[in-house]
Symmetry: C2
Subunit: 200 residues, 2 copies
């Protein structure tokens, strides 16, 4: 495994985070880098910045965003279907990923990708713990242990820690990639990130 | 000249509009399309939508934007230097372009590009009518006639008309490309626009 890495801040409720998640490891691998997956809660970030979800923007922009989610997914070659319930609170899924990173790191990204696909391809409800348990079982992860971990104070604190770290780096949206303090905001900045990974 | 065209809404005070302007005609040409250059005033749009300039966003975002202007220009292969005075009111330059489109259409894009370069490469002041007159002279355009046209009621109305048209299309930022009612917002959506031009 390479020592060179960058951080990938994402929120499970963000369609552009999903689009990035489906592509970022292949992009990193290609150039000998590693992506550190860092779940955060955009809602916490927005409290600091006054930001709002795209779905709550002025109608000209929110309508555009719904169309752009689909077009950007198609452009990125990933399936996409806007969930009936959107956006969805993502803290349980985020905590599950943090627990996996601490206990079974090789399962963290596969689990995260299944959470994203459950929400943005299969119209699932990731706020329902049964949904997360089913994803865990499908990946041979102990679902009961995961359900316990989601309520664990140390895991809750780890998520707060991710958010604090993102705030210290002035991350104001998701996805954001951070390399040596340089921010790349948006799935649409992956081409510029790639240039940076290539040393350009 | 091809009959197939799309609209390119831009504001001279927008760095991403400049980055797009330097590339859009080549992109259109390559696929047998034509870009209709449509100057607008983002300030008028923002009054309708509650939008704000990136420079007035939360500091985490505004600082990012300044860095992203430079990085995106570099990525697009165009020179860029943030002007000392920024943003700058763009209505005089916009009216000059509208007058050229009505009277000497072949000079409109060369003039518009020189306005953008004056602002974003040579740190000029495009609110100064002397600056616009000098650009006109450099392109063998009658500067006195241009200065008169900038104050002309019909030209002022043409700019209002562009803004009304943009609002009717729910354009909320610049640059925005509009093809058959479909909006592509941002210089970073040119790859998706290109896909569309290729019929994908």
């Amino acid at each position: 495994m390479t020592n060179r890495s960058f951080d990938f801040y994402f929120d499970f409720s963000s369609p552009y985070s999903y689009i990035a998640a489906e592509q970022i490891d292949a992009l990193a691998d290609k150039h000998g880098w590693r992506a550190n997956w860092k779940p955060i809660l955009l809602g916490v970030i927005f409290k600091a910045t006054g930001g709002i979800p795209l779905t709550m923007a002025h109608p000209w922009k929110s309508k555009y965003s719904l169309a752009d989610f689909e077009r950007s997914a198609r452009f990125g070659g990933v399936p996409f279907k806007l969930p009936a319930k959107f956006p969805q609170a993502s803290q349980s899924a985020a905590r599950a990923v943090l627990w996996l990173q601490q206990t079974q790191p090789s399962k963290a990204v596969p689990f995260a990708l299944e959470v994203f696909r459950t929400l943005f391809v299969r119209d699932g409800d990731i706020t329902d713990l049964n949904t997360l348990a089913a994803i865990a079982k499908g990946l041979d992860i102990d679902a009961d242990a995961m359900m316990t971990a989601i309520q664990d104070g140390a895991i809750k604190q780890a998520l707060i820690g991710n958010n604090d770290e993102a705030a210290a780096l002035e991350v104001f949206g998701a996805p954001t990639f951070v390399l040596d303090g340089e921010r790349f905001w948006g799935a649409d900045r992956m081409p510029q990130l790639e240039h940076r990974l290539m040393g350009r």
